[in-house]
Symmetry: D3
Subunit: 157 residues, 6 copies
């Protein structure tokens, strides 16, 4: 089993040295779910009809958050990401599913960027619908897939 | 049922006017869980012994994220928060529980600050342990309690 | 004629002391225009139909930029703004008009927040339509109205 | 006519994938004007004599804003810009002209960086002179020239 | 002797609760020195003559950094500072002295804002003169004075 | 003697063009000291025992600050840094020594990133111990070593 790469031999946190890794094409895909009452989901979808603003705002917030990842997660490297997509669709009558896709040509992966995009999109949905439903929950934030880099492809079971 | 307060009558997103609300004491408490393999949790706890850096970094990242909430969530008001605490402890041999507490004297609540602190603390744990376990999941991000403001106290069931 | 308040007696820039001013209700309204080819405007409006994303993204970018004003404009005070609205509508078949409204209860005005919101909304429209029309221009960024504070109400002619 | 590249086939906003573009040398030059009363321009120029702070602050604010472009404009890629210059000079006795030049070796252009630098320099001039002249206007923000990338050189008419 | 207020009874870092403190007028003054070769100081002063840009840029960077203090220092509270001044003058033929003054009406002090402003002004001088003199040192960053709050006035010996 | 590279022929500040420099491996190491009463140092070390939070927080703040350097120092280039380490250890019974190491493959050096990391780690120590000792001083911030780039290796005397 690998050790915790962010902790050095003295136990101190540091930003891992990726300077000698090759710059390769890398992608990461993450997902998250927002659970809510059926009425809340209907309201979001209806509110979404005229100008698309709830889901549109959540998508945009997720994209912008991907760009802030290294500012939020202490030991993340700043990366010149080349593509971000955030998709949001109902997964049942009580849950929205968010999928975030991030791409980079770089020396380290973009798992955290994809997970951050999905998380902030979910938080934005909570924010915009919380007047209607404070009991919403964000569930199942996980990495679905990563490609590229020395450790190769990872696919969630 | 209340309508979506961030959407105006034309369907456009806006930052709700809280200028006429009273500035009252408000608190919010949120929680999140990180699910992982038992070995991963042991590794974090062991890694945490000498310098406390995994959980220490996650706590700090959560506190700092609470201060960035209005920068991340598009329609959140900037708020002069007066206290943030983030606590992280094992909830079983496969999960860490994060609890974030935020306080403000202001014209609107700090639910989003507490939820953002808990989420970013969870993402930081994922980042610092992902070399050992990419299949970790963040689950159950929700508002536990809010006090203050016109809508009064909310307590999760 | 008043002197330049941001320049002290030695000519050096500083952030004006507003600590002894009363905290009053203040609003500011600014406008901006984006000039483009008629085809570009049609494309934006058509592109806006299914999900509302061009104008929706510009509105959201303007709102978020209002919150970053003190980070962008060197001598602006950080202010806990209580409301931001950004409206965008066609003013002719070759121009979009942006109106930004910002409100605060504070010791100094929000003119810069409203002007920044209008400017960044305009830049976002340029960004999202530039593949179709690089010759777009942003014109007529100005303060329309301010209320509150010692200098009272200002209304553009 | 090209379609709006930031909107995908479903109408949703996304950050365009530039991962397969070649990293080439790219420059962009943008301009903006600030219109004001002749007395205001004299005051700025006089205030500028001892320490150079009005125009110096505006130049610096423009340079710093170029670095924040991807944080302000939702769908802009983060870019490691290699040079920014902002020049400000009187264009008549009632207007200052701002020219911003930005350079990068990257997979996408720096038009938005140049336009953002020019816009924020203009807003900073407004901020620093608004005590003297609230009726100033920012006019004529446009792209003057871009070089590099697949679409080649663009020059404004 | 007081205990470390940022560490709770379990040893974990947290943002101290200042919610029950009175909002009072508070100021803080900090200083810093930049040591350099006499030729470097002459160059800065000469370079400063035409447009004032070295010291002007350092002053501005210090002012802007004061506004970012709570983003830099993990456990600092965000504060609506009402005034910042940064003064820079030669203290001998080999050193520049920086004095930063910050004011707020708030529930906690602005010592860190003043120290951060002085530090970042010093770093900016280093950056702008390092092509001429890499051996410059920043020395003597300290709090000179604070007023306001329960602990009253502090004056350095 | 070299001229001030950030000032152009007209005296105006600009971000130096590094676009034609080769992207080489570069490192920079900086140090800083925090002077305090012996009791304060004991308190920090004791407070550091259970969870490591004072020095842990300072290390993390230094690492995060390295990533914000181009946002703080007006004319610094944004750089995709590949490694940051911050070490803090007692240098005597009244002083802590901070050493910051930063690495990049890029077109310009990371001296400012290392100096900024060391400075912000020092400021964080001040913040977390100031309730016990307001008279602490930050001393001796300097560049210890740089490698890479056209000017080659620099080593402090």
């Amino acid at each position: 089993m690998s050790k915790l790469s962010h902790i050095d031999e003295t136990g101190a946190a540091h930003m891992v040295d990726v300077g000698d890794k090759a710059a390769t094409h890398r992608i990461a895909i993450a997902e998250a779910f927002v659970e809510m009452k059926p009425e809340t989901l209907k309201l979001i979808q209806a509110g979404d009809l005229p100008k698309g603003d709830v889901l549109g705002a959540a998508r945009l917030a997720g994209i912008m958050a991907a760009k802030k990842t290294s500012d939020l997660i202490p030991l993340c490297h700043p990366l010149p990401i080349t593509s971000v997509k955030v998709e949001i669709a109902p997964a049942s009558d009580t849950r929205l599913r968010i999928e975030a896709y991030v791409k980079v040509t770089g020396q380290t992966g973009v798992e955290m960027e994809a997970l951050t995009a999905a998380s902030v999109a979910a938080l934005t949905i909570y924010d915009m619908a919380k007047a209607a439903d404070k009991a919403m929950r964000i569930e199942g934030i996980r990495l679905l897939r990563k490609e590229g880099g020395k450790s190769g492809t990872y696919e969630a079971e």
